[in-house]
């Protein structure tokens, strides 16, 4: 379907655009990553408002996380999260074995360091969604192997 490719390409352009327009010192500081994350944050807030318009009220945190794994992820990436783990004390690990935004890059160690740039927007997306639902959170992402 055409719209999957649209978001992928737009996202890639966005990442390279932010880095190109950054000044010399900023690239090392990681401020670009923060910019991307904040973009994702605002988008996440609006998205969550739209998606939860018709769903029933959430009972607790676990319910919200399950919603993120299933409905939210399906709507944004057309697939569900493969694995959700928690320690029941506020830490949740979501695992996606075939992350849409990274499948286009070659498998192998070559681009591993650059992968974090592409994950910043999605981290912001989740953080924005959670904050709108009333949960303050820190979202970090980790890539163990490409594509993952």
């Amino acid at each position: 379907m055409a719209d999957e490719a649209l978001f992928l390409l737009l996202h890639n352009e966005m990442v390279s655009g932010v880095y190109k327009s950054a000044e010399q010192g900023e690239v090392e500081n990681g401020r670009c990553i923060t910019k991307l994350e904040n973009m994702g944050f605002r988008v996440g807030q609006g998205l969550i408002e739209r998606f939860t318009k018709d769903t029933a009220r959430f009972k607790d945190e676990l319910d919200i996380m399950k919603f993120i794994c299933k409905d939210f992820w399906t709507t944004v990436f057309k697939k569900q999260i493969d694995n959700l783990r928690t320690n029941h004390q506020g830490i949740y690990v979501l695992q996606d074995n075939k992350f849409r935004l990274l499948t286009q890059m070659s498998a192998g160690k070559q681009y591993l360091e650059h992968a974090s740039k592409y994950l910043a927007f999605t981290c912001g997306l989740i953080r924005g969604g959670l904050s709108n639902l009333g949960i303050k959170s820190i979202v970090t992402a980790e890539v163990s192997s490409m594509p993952a």
């Binding site: 609006g46 408002e49 739209r50 318009k53 029933a56 009220r57 009972k59 639902l133 009333g134």
Partner: protein
């Protein structure tokens, strides 16, 4: 006929409040403020209540001699409060629900507006749209 509509943010400050008879607005502001307590009570009692816990619409919050107050909470803890004239007995539950639906839809649109920062007062043409909703509810 709805006489007052209010949108209240998560932290319990008003994002938008508008009443139709523009004199005596303070009374409506006060009514909306007191209804917030009732809303909180309903949300927190959700876990033990036998009423449908998964609904967003809260129903009649409390009646006074002239007015009835209805509430609705979204999943992002934004509350909509509507004050309706008691003399209009033809206003059924379904109509109130549909009014809240329209409110929710408009609020979602405002959220997606890139020029809107979440937490600011709502100022755009939303106000005109809301007045139309209020006015149409009286005639429908």
């Amino acid at each position: 006929m709805a006489v007052c509509v209010a949108v209240i943010a998560k932290e319990n400050y008003p994002l938008y409040i508008r009443s139709i008879p523009t004199e005596n607005e303070l009374k409506f502001h006060y009514m909306v403020h007191t209804s917030l307590d009732v809303v909180d009570e309903k949300i927190s009692a959700m876990g033990k209540a036998l009423v449908d816990q998964r609904e967003l619409y809260l129903g009649l919050l409390y009646p006074t001699e002239d007015y009835k107050v209805y509430g609705y909470v979204t999943n992002s803890k934004v509350k909509f409060v509507m004050v309706v004239d008691s003399s209009n007995t033809a206003l059924r539950d379904n109509e109130i629900r549909s009014m809240f639906r329209k409110l929710h839809n408009s609020y979602t649109d405002v959220m997606c507006n890139p020029f809107y920062n979440p937490g600011d007062r709502i100022q755009s043409r939303w106000t005109k749209r809301m007045l139309r909703v209020l006015a149409s509810s009286g005639h429908s």
